[in-house]
């Protein structure tokens, strides 16, 4: 079958990258470690969105709900129980998955734009719930016990592991029969069902899996910021950034979100850190331009520029005019 070799190569490259990340982490400046952690968190959230939207066609605007779920789960667990930070990350993923499974009951009845609006509504509802949940600090949120959370090298290593999990899951989706079925249901759901694809099961698994990853990223965010609040971790910006980063790089590909995260973070988020409104404006414009002129993202532009000959060979042949 095609792709087996590619899959092995991708898996090996991923493993090497993760090991290198873990190995070089201690030697880096604290500022670089922090930057690395931030980028890897964004990568995880973008890749989780990519699995859901890029591969399975389920366009979500609900990433913020699971970043918040993960961050609050980790924060509350460390503040009120004696479990360790690593267990708290696992718990964050589990609770995010559980919430996703519950939200699946109403949300997975919806399709297309309705699903998107539904996920946005769910994320706004989560933000409102957290704002009014006094035990968890209400609008001002909560502060994590500083002596029990990882920082510096350990935090960066945690981010590497979480991002590697996201990349690994994406690679699985990219090269497996499961992922192929997702592509089929993305392209035409009734036809996929008619060919034996268990549509609901595939949508459910993708939705929950993506949410678990996002929840684990949320725990890392909580450790990095030390304090979590509804306006921070449940901000719709998380959802928008995920969409932007995945789309700019190239949704539906393994490497696209890696490129996109880097481009968007360096090109926009950092440069415009002090100009919040301008940043939104520029991000919005970029999103429109990408969707209009490069719907397959920067990765596709690069591939096309690099392989003009191969492109000519795969051009659609004549006879493809709309009948």
């Amino acid at each position: 079958m095609t792709g087996r070799k590619d899959a092995t190569t991708a898996g090996a490259a991923l493993l090497v990258a993760a090991v290198v990340g873990l190995a070089v982490a201690p030697g880096l400046e604290p500022g670089v470690q922090d930057l690395g952690t931030t980028l890897l968190v964004y990568l995880t959230v973008a890749q989780a969105w990519n699995i859901l939207a890029g591969f399975a066609g389920q366009v979500s605007l609900g990433a913020a709900a699971f970043v918040a779920t993960g961050a609050y789960t980790a924060g509350l667990a460390l503040a009120h129980t004696s479990i360790g930070w690593a267990a708290a990350v696992a718990l964050a993923g589990a609770i995010a998955g559980l919430i996703a499974a519950m939200l699946a009951v109403p949300l997975l009845r919806l399709r297309g734009d309705y699903f998107t609006i539904g996920t946005l509504a769910a994320s706004i509802a989560v933000q409102a719930l957290l704002t009014n949940w006094n035990w968890a600090g209400g609008a001002s949120g909560l502060t994590l016990p500083i002596d029990r959370i990882p920082a510096g090298t350990t935090l960066l290593r945690l981010a590497v592991v979480v991002a590697a999990a996201a990349m690994g899951l994406t690679a699985y989706v990219r090269y497996s029969a499961f992922g192929l079925r997702l592509g089929a249901l993305r392209d035409n759901e009734p036809a996929a069902a008619g060919l034996g694809v268990a549509v609901y099961g595939h949508r459910f698994a993708t939705w929950v899996g993506s949410s678990v990853l996002t929840g684990m990223a949320g725990a890392v965010v909580a450790y990095q910021y030390v304090a979590v609040s509804p306006s921070g971790v449940a901000s719709v910006n998380w959802s928008l950034d995920a969409v932007l980063m995945a789309l700019v790089g190239g949704a539906g590909s393994l490497i696209g979100p890696v490129l996109g995260t880097t481009i968007v973070y360096y090109g926009l988020t950092r440069m415009l850190e002090d100009f919040q409104v301008l940043s939104l404006l520029v991000e919005g414009t970029l999103l429109v331009l990408i969707v209009r002129f490069a719907p397959a993202g920067v990765l596709a532009l690069l591939t096309r520029a690099a392989r003009p000959l191969r492109r000519a060979a795969t051009l659609p042949a004549a006879g493809t005019e709309p009948a």
Partner: protein, 492 residues
Amino acid sequence: MSGQLAVRDLHKRFGGVQALGGVDLLVAPGEAVAVIGPNGAGKSTLLKTIAGGHRPDRGEVWLGPDRLDRLPPHRITRSGVALAHQVPRPFPQLTVRDNVRVAAMARGHGATVEQVLTLCELDTKADRPAASLAVLDLKRLEVARALATDPTVLMLDEVAAGLAGRELDEAIALIRRIHATGRSLLLVEHIERVVREIVGRVLVLDWGKPIAEGTPDEIARDNRVREVYLGDGSATTSSRRPAPPPASEPLLAVHGLTAGYGDLVALRDVSLDVRPGEIVAVLGANGAGKSTLCGSIMGAVRVRGGSVRVGGTEITTAPPYRRAGLGMAYCPEGRRVFAELTVRENLQLGAPLRLAPQQLRERLAEVYDIFPVLAERGAQLAGTLSGGQQQMLAVGRALMSRPRLLICDEISLGLAPVAVDTLYRALTQINDRGVAILLVEQNVHRCLALADRACVLSRGRLSYAGPAADLLHDDRLDEAYFGTSDDHETTT
């Protein structure tokens, strides 16, 4: 591979329409059965209900010892029943091979993918994205995917529709090869040849109920069947009118037209004209450029070279809404009625915006005069009409602007002969009122019987222009349709 397909007392209702009213059907292992009937008889609904796309209101579907009618669609497929739809539904972003692989996973027989691709003659295109396939290959892919699920019963919904000549031969040969592997076949088909050459037994549906069952020959002799399915049999005779005076100024003049999409040139240097009151046929195989020609005339496709003039006004680059004001009306391929609006509302939308109520009533009356069935169904949602009725509505809607020129794109596509008869009689009436008609068709003989003049497009070029009657004895038609028409490989 065994198991008898048994359908018992199947009922399905959509809103006010009883699509299936108690259908019983047995398909023995390895048998091939065809379901025929006029448009709206419930044929596609029957197949979709068996496949799980619709849930039956009443009745049962069994395959061997398994009851299927309560299962979700993917479980039905895994149980051994697959459906190739009338309108192909490819996964456009996946390659042809991956399209088939998805299907092959249904029952865990991944090894058959290459065999299926070869059998369906898609092996040379396996690595292309499905979005790049032409119509015939899309149909092959639809069949290939259904076949790849390794079905005990393969259901084919009009897979030969829109094919002619060699393409039709190939489609029949493909179905036969599939049948030879021992699978049961259940076909819905309008094309008599396909039915006669493949199946041993025919079930005739009308208004959701079986009205006859037997061998193809028995069915062909059954008078009741002839009546519902073929109309009264005399309908195909045409009433040829004297040609309009040739001296008159052309209503539509297309000169040296070139148009295309992206890298593809779909139309090269095409010239034709339509004089007032005349019927001009445009013929050609799939992909010949017929729809592009319509699109260029109506402004939906950007013209690269040449000119289009209507009543002496140059409109080559005019926006579509301005063209509508010049006395042209367009009846697009695939009907395109507004499904969520009523029949009357659809018609109203075809009329100019500011029209006095009295005038609107007059125009509605004119349309109802030509299509009485639309008057009966004025308050019904257009989406609930049968295919033939929707086509009538589409023509009626075009007439509401009182055009001098009516452009019809493939109005007989996918319709039962009796519905086509009705439409062609209506076209004659419309033409009798002085409306010129540009008739784009695949249905050659029907179209030529009606038209004064004809043009043949073959792969984007005009290969014939002249009296319609002469074309029936001209090789050019054969050449345009059958000679090189299956050659979709030519890259520009």
